[in-house]
């Protein structure tokens, strides 16, 4: 009898006690996930706001299909160097044809480095009969302040991430209301990829190696 208790019942008992100790709710390590779950509050009344850090930005609301405001982007039109276009152009785009085959066309300095020329030309995004507006594939015209809708036609994953907050950059403050850069605040729409450059500083050790003084 003594043998049975020692060899079978005792180890099982110890095992059960250990299991119950491990799975008890008063476990010491409560990670951020459980803390987030326990303390999340969808209606937080913040005593702080992004206002003081974004009040110099004129904001444009980004809305969903039900016209609810999701967040804000900076006004784009205010920052365009040559806008409105009718300062120079008084004709529609399709009537402006270069007469000098060897001279420089208007906006000659813009090099389109975005997808292929088979997929994209100037008038894929710029409205040919109203230069003040951008153009969607449905021929609907849209303001420069809502340019993200043009990009969203192809870049749907990036748009989804941007709306949620994983892509792009929040400006000024983490506190609500959220103000985020729109696509063209970071990407040049005519050449959207980022360029390689030297880092803005070098690592400590490397500097010492290069300049031992």
């Amino acid at each position: 009898m003594d043998k049975i208790i020692n060899r079978i019942i005792l180890p099982i008992g110890v095992f059960l006690v250990l299991i119950s100790a491990c799975s008890s709710p008063s476990h010491k390590h409560q990670g951020p996930f459980s803390e987030i779950k326990n303390n999340s509050n969808p209606h937080i009344e913040y005593s702080i706001s992004s206002e003081p850090y974004t009040n110099d930005i004129e904001k444009i609301a980004v809305t969903n299909s039900a016209e609810d405001t999701l967040f804000f982007t900076p006004n784009r039109v205010n920052y365009l160097v040559s806008f409105p276009c009718n300062n120079c152009h008084n004709q529609d785009l399709d009537k402006m044809v270069s007469t000098d085959p060897f001279g420089k066309n208007a906006h000659w300095d813009i090099k389109l480095n975005h997808a292929t020329t088979e997929a994209l030309t100037c008038i894929t995004c710029h409205s040919s009969n109203n230069v003040e507006q951008l153009r969607l594939n449905s021929e609907k015209q849209i303001s420069y302040n809502k340019s993200q809708k043009v990009c969203a036609q192809c870049h749907s994953t990036q748009t989804k991430d941007w709306l949620g907050g994983a892509h792009g950059k929040t400006i000024g403050a983490w506190a609500p209301p959220r103000v985020s850069n729109t696509c063209v605040n970071c990407h040049n729409p005519h050449s959207p990829s980022f360029e390689t450059r030297w880092p803005s500083r070098l690592n400590t050790v490397k500097i010492k190696e290069l300049d031992p003084k």
Binding site: I36, N39, G164, G165, W174, P176, T196, L202, K206, I207
Partner: protein, 343 residues
């Protein structure tokens, strides 16, 4: 009968030990740390030595504050230094004591440097737990975040202290021993990706557990902070941190007067002294007012996302719930509040 046999064996060992102790040949009769330091028998010579050292330091303060030749500013400064020297741990201070402490620091700066600094004692904002996400597909290794961090947090320029490290990895692996932290070429390099580390503000911070003087702790909003004037510089926390998050001031930190960030927080970027720890505080002086940390603001690629984990509508929550995220060394149970994700 296995258990019984073992028990018998233990008893034998214990008996043997006891026998050895009586002979005085084992270590257990030696005084422990408490006996060595606190209950140390004090002879006349060492008592006088300690007393004289204390008196000399004290008379220095008193001398200049009572002197007829010293100016009023000098007198005030030395009296403030006296108060500063005997202040308590920030965690134990009442709201009024915190207020008077930061005002004293502002006054001391005005007296000794002639300028005005703003030292804040702002506490954690209600319903806020800070979290951070880092997009390893987007980071290009530009290092703009490091520059912004150094300028914002008044880090020592001589030793080039940096809280953030940007590691360059060859695509296809993520071994930190193979990472290049000293990259010196145009970035991004083809076939490489970049990953930044800093203090992760763990929910179970091992650095806090090991601090022998409670000079570091986790605030209510999840930021792990240091009381620079309470730190004794033992560097236990450096050894305990699995993420290389902590930095030590081996020399007196130096920041040129015109580069000093005068918008400071007691637990954040106020100037440190030689021999104390410091680290990333999620820019407590900015974030408790709602502003983004300096690294988030400086990043030109949008790799850095910061926000309130308790707010289901925040961008950080969206990232954690919708992207494939991971954290470093999750198996340690430190629960860092710093997530990495990919596009």
């Amino acid at each position: 009968m296995f258990f019984k046999r073992k028990k018998k064996g233990n008893e034998e060992v214990a008996q043997q030990k006891a026998a050895n102790c009586e002979e005085g040949s084992c270590g257990c009769s030696k005084p422990d740390g408490f006996d060595q330091v606190i209950k140390k028998p004090l002879d006349r010579r060492s008592a006088l030595k300690g007393l004289t050292a204390g008196l000399l330091a004290g008379t220095g303060f008193v001398n200049s504050s009572c002197s007829i030749t010293a100016s009023d500013a000098d007198k005030e400064l030395s009296s403030l230094k006296w108060d500063e020297y005997f202040k308590g741990n920030y965690q134990l201070m009442t709201t009024d004591e915190k207020r008077s402490t930061v005002e004293r620091l502002e006054r001391m700066y005005a007296l000794s440097n002639g300028g005005k600094i703003n030292v804040s004692d702002t506490g954690a904002v209600e319903d806020v737990l800070f979290g951070y996400a880092f997009n390893i597909s987007k980071c290009q290794g530009y290092m703009d975040c490091v520059n912004a961090c150094v300028e914002e947090n008044n880090q020592d320029r001589d030793s080039q202290m940096q809280y953030i490290r940007i590691h360059e990895f060859k695509k296809g692996q993520m071994n930190f021993e193979m990472a290049d932290d000293n990259f010196y070429h145009e970035v991004p390099a083809a076939g490489h990706f970049y990953l930044g580390t800093q203090c992760f503000h763990c929910e179970n911070p091992p650095c806090v557990d090991v601090c022998p003087v409670k000079a570091t702790w986790k605030e209510k909003d999840g930021i792990v902070v240091i009381d620079y004037d309470w730190c004794i510089g033992c560097r236990y926390c450096v050894a305990a941190c699995p993420y290389d998050g902590r930095r030590f001031n081996w020399s007196t930190p130096h920041v040129p007067e015109n580069e000093l960030n005068k918008d400071q927080h007691y637990l954040g970027n106020r100037p440190r002294t030689k021999g104390v720890m410091e680290k990333c505080t999620f820019c407590v002086q900015r974030t408790r007012k709602g502003e983004n940390p300096a690294c988030v603001e400086a990043c030109p690629t949008g790799s850095r996302i910061f926000g309130n984990l308790l707010d289901p509508n925040s961008t950080i929550r969206w990232v954690i719930e919708n992207k494939k995220v991971f954290r470093l060394k999750e198996d340690l149970g430190t629960e860092p509040k710093f997530w990495y994700f990919m596009d």
